[in-house]
């Protein structure tokens, strides 16, 4: 059981690319890739806030707690 990030799904829903999100929130593509692939060890509230603002979503839409299959549902 772990926290997984479903940023790619939200990006797909909004029709936005990772590069575009990177420019809008001011976070490097490398860091967003770390977040997208669930390799990140921590996420700053400021980063989460900026992502939620640009994608018009809630933190719960991006972050999931569970195993890989549960989170993918």
């Amino acid at each position: 059981m772990a926290i997984s990030v479903k940023l790619d799904r939200v990006l797909l829903d909004r029709g936005m690319s990772l590069t575009e999100l990177s420019e809008r929130v001011g976070v490097t593509i490398a860091n967003l890739s770390i977040l997208k692939t669930s390799k990140a060890k921590a996420i700053r509230f400021s980063t989460l806030e900026a992502i939620c603002k640009e994608l018009n979503c809630q933190p719960g839409d991006i972050l999931f707690y569970g195993d890989g299959e549960t989170a993918a549902e």
Partner: protein, 172 residues
């Protein structure tokens, strides 16, 4: 004077360690050859002269204390060579990026074990020198033991530093 970068203390230390490494290698190779050759010297002399048990003024015979002295220096040079190599590797990471990596923690631990082996060997040679009446200077320095403990502590500091660096790198 700067601590890191071109013309810094780290660069001077690296140059000093490189020179020391060359000297240690020469000494270590010389002692390795001596370890093999010295016990065979009397046989060579016997073979060369064609007379068994030649002892020219006692200089040709190899006593156990002579061999013990060579072995003592061989271990010392080996330990020093290992420590210098590890220190050079640590300095390399300092010059080309971040020193806070797990490998450096392992290197410091290796240095600690090498120094421990060096001190253990010193005790062993002390006992052997008493048995064989060899003239080996056994100076048990408490500072050396404190240094070994300090190196092990430093190793754990680097391990924690590496963990914190990784966490920082993976914080978005």
């Amino acid at each position: 004077m700067r601590a890191i970068g071109k013309g810094s203390l780290a660069s001077i230390l690296a140059v000093g360690l490189h020179i020391t490494r060359v000297i240690l290698w020469v000494g270590f190779v010389g002692l390795s050859i001596a370890m093999v050759i010295v016990p065979l010297v009397p046989f060579f002399v016997d073979a060369a002269t064609g007379v068994a048990d030649v002892n020219i003024d006692g200089d040709v015979s190899v006593d156990s204390e002579d061999y013990l002295n060579i072995a003592h220096h061989f271990v010392n040079f080996g330990v020093m060579l290992f420590v210098v190599n590890r220190l050079l590797e640590i300095l390399k990471t300092l010059r080309f990026g971040s020193p806070f990596v797990k490998e450096n923690a392992d290197r410091f631990r290796g240095v600690g074990y090498a120094l421990l082996i060096g001190q253990g060997a010193l005790i062993a040679f002390g006992i052997l020198s008493a048995v064989f009446d060899a003239d080996i200077d056994i100076d048990m320095n408490p500072i050396a033991w404190l240094a070994i403990i300090a190196v092990f502590v430093l190793s754990e500091v680097f391990r924690e530093g590496a963990r914190m660096k990784e966490e920082q790198d993976l914080t978005v």
